[in-house]
Amino acid sequence: MVQKFDYLKESPSQTAGPYVHIGLAPGDAGFDIYRQELGHDIIGPNAKGERITVDGIVTDGTGAPVKDVLIEIWQANAAGVYAGAGKVEQGFRGWGRVIPDFETGEWAFETIKPGPVMGRSGRIMAPHISLWLVARGINIGLNTRMYFADEDKANAADPVLNLIEQQHRRATLIAKRETRKGASVYRFDIRLQGENETVFFDI
């Protein structure tokens, strides 16, 4: 008999459910319990780089907004360094949590535009923000990436975007740049299913 493997199996995922806010954003569930909720401040007070707002809406297979989604954000600083992996500005966490408006499904977060990050085999990745979505009806968190429309050249060389065989699907990961009242806003809508379905990753 061959030897048995003694590895453990990963705990299976379950949906976050409709009341995910109680645990991860209790203020939005309607009560205050913690001294500070985590995930509101992504970059801290000292972050260098261009201040930007990212906003969007998540829609389901019927085109309706998903109002009980919770999105987590993970990004590098303007120099392309992740917190915990190198030196970043004091207070820069690079991680955030955002939920949409209960009525409209619109969400937004404030951050800085990340710098390019070294990818595998020494290939530079275009600036991007990693996003992780959970909600009622989603059994395992969905991973995707947001890239920036004004980074055409870097996007064209990005090793991850280039893994997407269907050219037109790459566009689902590229946020459009707008200027509103002098501020830089990137619009990033996420379609869970159906026409123009956003590309999701198995990371």
């Binding site: 453990l8 806010h21 109680i22 309607g30 595998r120 959970v134």
Partner: protein, 211 residues
């Protein structure tokens, strides 16, 4: 999604993740019996839920953030969208958080949540459960799951539980009654270990020598 997920070889974007420290949370945050108490203790079966966070190589995951949320003893959530007729408990919030210690251990004190009905099939009831959110040390390890209680007959009937096709994987989400960890005449205990994706250093990648 209708389309297949796109597989990704991990880069720094997936292999790094947020780090939390003791000054992000308060010592009382893991005690759901006290962290929202207004006039007294919440009503319900007093329990301790404890366990370890491990990776697939059975190594502990230290200093990682574990967050939980749950209904009260009657199955009612403190959430503006929950309209179930069972009442809110004025002394129970229903959320907690803690960091694992050097051995990957965590502990919460709470009341055992009740089952509750939901609009799926006409007569669907969720088994008693506690939602768990765990970070691990890489964004690729991020996990949200649910813990169930040993012996609950509703587990086998639940369509959310049955989104998991492998019965052994379901067993992995069922916490065992842990008489060793009970506090006599005070609280009963359940043990719930969580396994995150394995973590090892990179082998032979662009380098002639190994690890």
């Amino acid at each position: 999604p209708h389309y297949a997920l796109l597989s990704l070889q991990n880069s720094a974007s997936e292999l790094t993740g947020p780090v939390f420290g003791q000054n992000d949370i308060d010592p009382l945050d893991n005690d759901l019996i006290r962290n929202y108490a207004k006039t007294g203790d919440p009503i319900g079966e007093r329990i301790i839920v404890h366990g370890r966070v491990l990776d697939e190589n059975a190594r502990p995951v230290p200093n990682t953030l574990v967050e939980i949320w749950q209904a009260n003893a009657g199955g009612r959530y403190r959430h503006r969208k929950d309209t179930y007729l069972a009442p809110i408990d004025p002394n129970f919030g229903g959320c907690g958080r803690t960091l694992t210690d050097e051995q990957g251990c965590y502990v919460f004190r709470t009341v055992k949540p009740g089952a509750y009905p939901w609009r799926n099939w006409v007569n669907n009831w969720r088994p008693a459960h506690i939602h768990f959110s765990v970070f691990g040390s890489a964004f690729a390890q991020r996990l949200i799951t649910q813990m169930y209680f040993e012996g609950d007959p509703l587990i086998a009937n639940c369509p959310i539980v049955r989104t998991i096709p492998d019965p052994r994987a379901i067993d992995q989400l069922v916490a065992a009654l842990d008489l060793n960890a009970t506090i006599p005449l005070d609280s009963i205990a359940y043990k719930f270990d969580i396994v995150l994706r394995g973590q090892r250093s990179t082998y032979f990648e662009n380098r002639p020598e190994g690890n």
